[in-house]
């Protein structure tokens, strides 16, 4: 009979026996977070797309981000492919949770929370997809087999609408998790939503949402900028959402550690316990963007005169004479960390960003004066004098400059320049990256391997 002929794998969990319990649901949500932390997800993706591709950072290692740096990136680029893999895994895993978990009989509060987490994480994934590649296939359910090879890219606006919707829904998340710091919170959904509106130039919504975050009253700026990069202050008052890393879980592969110190630090083991490779370096000019007395400079840059762990920085360690300090300088090196197995979390959205979002949006709405105080909170913490009396354009430039320094090496610069329409000026003209061309380099190429499988997936202009 038929039953005799039905033999599910005996050594693997299948769909048929998964999606049964709250534990299954929880683990399925955990796996979405896992997608976010992968190589060219938030682990290195921010540096590659946000910083190396902009004017702040550079790369000399041909095995890594040189094509992103000098805009020779092509559709076969393995790093772009790895990022594509990370974010689509985030989307698919979220969709699986959103499709399957509702049918599970379990605690309704937990269920609702997990579904909201999935919506948040799907929105985060799509946020990265739409900012890196532009138009994208819009999938809000598990992909049916019959449609796998026929999906097409939808206009950005539709993707943005879905992101808004998901973040809006995810505002139902709890404000915090007593024992599970790192899960998406209500504040994170709100902050991401305000960032989304900002990217969409929906100034009023952006301002409103940022103000809502501020009014939550649970976030504040650290008294010192450096605390954002100290393990002791992870997931604390300024942190709204960060990628969680722990050390000591292995070397290459699926370790749970942060690779960024290994990619940005010098070979000297006084800096990174097992020696780092300095693959991603601050551009030479990036030491010239600081006002005098900006206390963020010492956090962002190792340069001539820097001393860390009693060891003077030797500019010869870097082709640009500079190294990114912020993921190293906050704590002393931990001997047990492997070469790529760092402890520190990656900040994804900080309260400082909400303040600057609010300031930027208010300025665009013509409320420059109100906006000034929020910009000046950031400047004050950096040890700088307040800026007052700027007109709208000047204020816009001031916010841009403040964001550049405040989020140096945190994956924002490329996208901020693009929002402002200043990529060409900053990257091609000022930073001298002659290959940069528009509209081609506004977005990154769709991986060729994907288009080979589905020719209906159109390539971005110019590739």
């Amino acid at each position: 009979g038929d039953d005799f002929l039905v033999r599910a794998p005996l050594n693997q969990i299948t769909e048929e026996n998964f999606w049964k319990t709250d534990q299954d649901a929880t683990m399925a949500v955990n796996a979405i977070y896992d997608a976010l932390q992968t190589d060219l997800g938030y682990r290195l993706g921010g540096l590659m797309f946000g910083d190396v591709a902009a004017d702040d950072m550079t790369c000399f290692d041909v095995n890594w981000f040189v094509p992103q740096d000098n805009f020779t990136v092509n559709p076969s680029d393995p790093q772009v492919l790895a990022a594509w893999r990370a974010w689509w895994a985030g989307v698919a895993r979220s969709n699986a949770v959103l499709d399957r978990v509702p049918a599970i009989t379990m605690d309704e509060t937990l269920k609702q929370r997990l579904l909201n987490e999935a919506k948040f994480l799907r929105a985060v994934s799509y946020f990265n997809i739409v900012t890196i590649w532009g138009d994208a296939p819009l999938m809000v359910h598990e992909l049916e087999q019959s449609k796998v090879f026929t999906v097409t890219r939808q206009p950005q606006a539709e993707i943005w609408a879905q992101i808004e919707k998901d973040f809006t829904d995810a505002q139902g998340l709890p404000l915090s998790y007593p024992n599970e710091a790192g899960r998406a919170t209500k504040g994170a959904a709100m902050a991401f939503l305000s960032r989304t509106y900002l990217y969409e130039k929906k100034w009023q919504e952006a301002a409103n949402k940022a103000k809502e975050v501020i009014d939550l009253g649970i976030y504040n700026l650290h008294d010192q900028y450096i605390k954002n990069y100290q393990t002791a202050f992870e997931n604390s008052v300024e942190s709204i959402f960060e990628i969680q890393y722990v050390a000591g879980t292995g070397g290459w592969g699926n370790n749970e550690g942060n690779w960024v110190p290994s990619y940005t630090g010098p070979g000297n083991t006084a800096y990174v316990a097992s020696g780092a490779w300095g693959i991603v370096l601050p551009a030479t000019a990036s030491k010239d963007i600081y006002e005098a007395d900006d206390n963020r400079r010492a956090v962002n840059l190792f340069e001539q005169g820097s001393v860390y762990n009693n060891t003077p920085f030797d500019p010869k360690w870097s082709q640009t004479g500079l190294m990114l300090a912020k993921y190293i300088v906050g704590d002393l090196p931990v001997a047990t960390e492997g070469a790529i197995d760092g402890e520190r979390n990656m900040p994804i959205i900080r309260y400082a960003e909400v303040l600057l979002t609010y300031a930027e949006a208010l300025n665009e709405l013509g409320q420059t004066t109100t906006a000034e105080s929020y910009l000046n909170k950031i400047r004050a913490r950096a040890g700088l004098d307040p800026k007052t009396g700027l007109d709208q354009d000047a204020f816009r430039d001031a916010v841009m400059q403040e964001r550049r320094i405040e989020f140096f090496g945190e994956g924002h610069r490329f996208f901020d320049l693009r929002r402002a329409g200043k990529l060409d000026e900053a990257v091609r003209i000022d930073a001298g990256k002659a290959n940069y061309t528009e509209p081609k380099n506004l977005y990154f190429p769709i991986p060729q391997a994907e288009r080979d499988l589905n020719p209906g997936l159109e390539q971005n202009t110019g590739y």
Partner: protein
Amino acid sequence: SVLPPLAFGQEYASRVASSSQRRPRHLSVTFESKSLKEILFSLENVYHVSFNYDDDVLRDAYLKENFVWNKNEKLERILDRLLVNFQMSYKRIDKSNFLILSKRGEDSTESSKGVVSPTVGSNFQQTYLTQRLNEPMASTRTTIDFTVSGVITSDDGETLPGVNILLKGTSKGTTSDANGRYTLILPDAEGVLVFSFIGYTTREEAIGNRSTIDIKMTADTKTLSEVIVVGYGSQENKDVTGAVGAINGTKLATSAVPSVDQALQGRMSGVYVTTNSGEPGGGLSMRVRGMGGLGVSEPLYVIDGVIITYNASSSYGYKETANNPLATLNMADIESISVLKDASASAIYGARAGNGVVIITTKRGKSGAPRLSYEGYYGVQTVAKTLDVMDASEYASYSNDARTAAGLGTNLKFANPASLGKGTDWQDAIFRSAPIQNHQLSLSGGSDNSQYYISAGYMKQDGIITGSSFSRYSLRLNLDNKVTSWLKIGNSLTLSRSFNQSLTNNNGDRYAGIVAQALRRSPTLGIRNADGSWVGPDNSDLAYVGVINNPVMLATLNNEPNERLRALENFNVEIKLHKNLTFQTNLGVDYVLTNYNRFKPTFVEGALSNNKPEATSTKSTLSNLLAENTLAYKNTFNAKHKLEVLGGYTAQLSTSDVVSALSFFQLTNDLTTIDAGSPNPDRQASGSKSQTSYVSLLGRVNYAFADKYLLTANIRRDGSSVFTSQNKYGIFPSFSAGWRISEETFMKATPISNLKLRASWGQVGIDGSLGIGTEYATIGSGYKYNFGGKVVNGMTANRVPNTSLKWETVTQTDIGIDLGLLDNRLNFTADYFIKNYGDMITDKRMPIYAGMVSDAYYTNPISQPINSANVQNKGLELALNYQNRTMGGFSYSVEANMTTFSNKVISLTDDIIAGSTGNSDPGFLTRTTQGRSIGEFYGYVTDGIFHNQAEVDAANALDGQPTLYYQSSGTAPGDIKYKDLDGDNRITDKDRTYLGSPIPNFAYGFSTNLEYKGFSLNMLFQGVHGNKIVNVNRYILESSTDGENKGTAMVGRWTDANPNSNFPRAISTDPNNNDRASDRFIENGAYLRLKNIQLGYTLPGNVAERMHLSNIKVYLSAQNLWTITKYSGYNPDIGAQTQNNTSYGIDNTVYPNSVTFLGGINIGL
């Protein structure tokens, strides 16, 4: 026939009753009567037997006094006492049937009912049964019209028991008794008797009113009436319309080899056997009709009716070579092997028959006196060939050159190469003369109703490399029992234990295998120090001689036993429901326990050591349960329409269960168990379990008209757990037709004794690539994240199921001709086939936006198995045999066969790149692409050597760009030049091309058998032509690098002083990459080999008799005595270590083959 009056029985019954009442109760019941018929009748009732007699003869048989007997007496004794009064005797035909013989000593019945041959003539039994059922009282009494009797002998004068005698066109018949005698009672003196016996030419003899017909049967190894085992039954050769190759055990036994598949090499057209390793117990690859499709194309094995599911892919770990399903079988037990080649023959095995089916039938007992026989041989094996490598002084000189060229320092110990002398010959050190022996004792015999075949075998083969061996103990019990006239049960049981001590990495590893180590190890190093400790390189040596372990030490410390216990059982019940209808049930069990252990010992040899011993223990259990029920109908209508119909229902369940454990740091090399290792956390466990099931319906119709026009149709409907829900059942049909032209009247006057045309078409399947649970979306774990500083597990889908995946379909068309001349002393068979492997399963990469990764590392893209590729095989098979016997008693036979190969990938989306040389730089060696044959070698084409700097400069200048080099910046005189195929004046990846195929143009074999007055000489030659081999040994022996020994060819390497050499310069760094995959290492793989030669002498019968033996034969035999080949490696007979067609013909320093000399004796009691 005469019916006794019904009243007789009633009267009798009352009389018995009254007589018993008169007797005291403590005495046995006694009977008394004067009438012989009456006495026999009462005996029938009491002893539940039947007497067969001539009613006329017994009608007047009365005693003068009452004959008294009682129930406690033995029946035979009663009969003795009784019949002596009438000068009659009796004969017991079987358990319940007796013949009463008259004064003349002749049968007093219609016939000797009941002896049923397993193959022919069983209709007779059926008639009898039917009569019994219809006429319970009267069935045994008939009138005689005519009696014929005689003695049947073989052409050498021995009487033949068990010969079937049938009155042509009827179901009347009998079989000869133990003395070759037969008696048959017939309605009249007309008609024709047909005498048939397996292995003898069937004879027809007109009765012509003779009452005595003595017959001499002629032995025939290849007669038209030879019974061929086919799927779910057997057929006479003349009726076969499919392509079936058959060979009997006698012929196989002329090769004294450990395993059946070895004996098949070169024996049969369309069956291509290659050796994967010369290691004892090592595997072979068998390909039926062409190379097959992508992946593994091994045939399906059916042993005594049990479909074997144990194969390489269901094994654990890498010991696939030991998983030869035939290695557990005792050669001497084999009665016959049939290879079902075309779709017509194999479709009855449906979804698993796509690569052909090999049916192995073991010996069964025959009625007659017990036959005890011993067969044994003992031999010595030596390595067939060694490779020429440098001696110590040559190597030292080479090392100095290579390092100097690379700007590196040289070994101070090598300062004066000549002083180092010969050094160690490592091949000599690891190879040895190794004994091989085999002993088998068998006992067979039985009565007419039950037969037995019991055998015990022991085989032990030591390997020609120290440390390797294979042994096998086997026990067989085959029983047949006719319980009643309509019920037969049979049993086939094999118990075996095979034990393999295999060498670490003997195969497929250019670096770590012992053969590779022996080729690579520097001859400047010794074997043992004076104190017995192992010699190894010291720290100063390491850079110059490499990290290459002492191969003698490795072989000596080797500890990798693999024990396999197997019980293969088939229980068979056959019920005659009607004279034309038989129901049969088979219950099969194949239970295999594998106990695989590996111990990596500690050792110290100079600067090399291992201080982390490691023990692995793997236990695997395979249970394969099979139940088959078939119903067979057989009838002949109007003497011309012969119809056979078979229907069946089968179910099979296979379970594989594997557990493996690993521990480290055992205290000594003698403590090799898991628990002798250090405790947790240094212990690891792993395992796997899977199940597959089948439910099938099968059917066959054979129809023959006038023995001339033959039609066969087969069908099987398979349902399987490995099939996906959308394709849960597959239907595999085949049709074939035959025309026996020689039976036409217009052919009678020709010298053609047999001519048959055959044609077939059908579809069969391959399910091997489906995998387990393809349609299930699996959820993987290990997608971890951290919350609150703690790592938590995450789970997500990691496989894209394909719910519509189906088996691979092989569609085959066959046209064949069978021709017999000179009374079939000369037979010729030719077949042309086209075999299309369609819907072959390949992995289709899934788009990443579908969101899945197969591993927690996010590196492997997800693939979905899909039915896509298509591979075509075509070929011609030719087989010829001739046998004759001169007047002087000299008999001889010659057999030859040949098979051509044509393989083409018709469609394939993504090229398959495979065939690595192990863990080495040259990387992949083969490429399978659309439009070419599977697994062609792929790489660069050499264009000689740069003899001088001018040639290098000229090449670099070709593109006019001074900064770009033709090959490499380090290219210098003495480096290999490669051809610039794409014309860009540089050597790049694009300059690689296809370099030849491992698939031969044709394979062939021929054998002769000469016999004269007890002497026999058998020879088997075998060979292939038109194939290529990658000689990976030469990657070691002819590379430019140092740190390992080189072949003597490199003594003549390019140097300034020897600029015209064809061998590259010595340079440690090999900047030109002279080692890359190129035609340099590809060689012609053709060979012709005298595979086996055996000279035997059978002692004359009278001599044997004086020794109280029935026969005695002694022989001397040699295997692989000589080989003609241009191939420079150890052995041109190279299969595929993984059995995968995409990596065929790669000689990865495999275990070499041996030359074996042996002597044997066969004794029959």
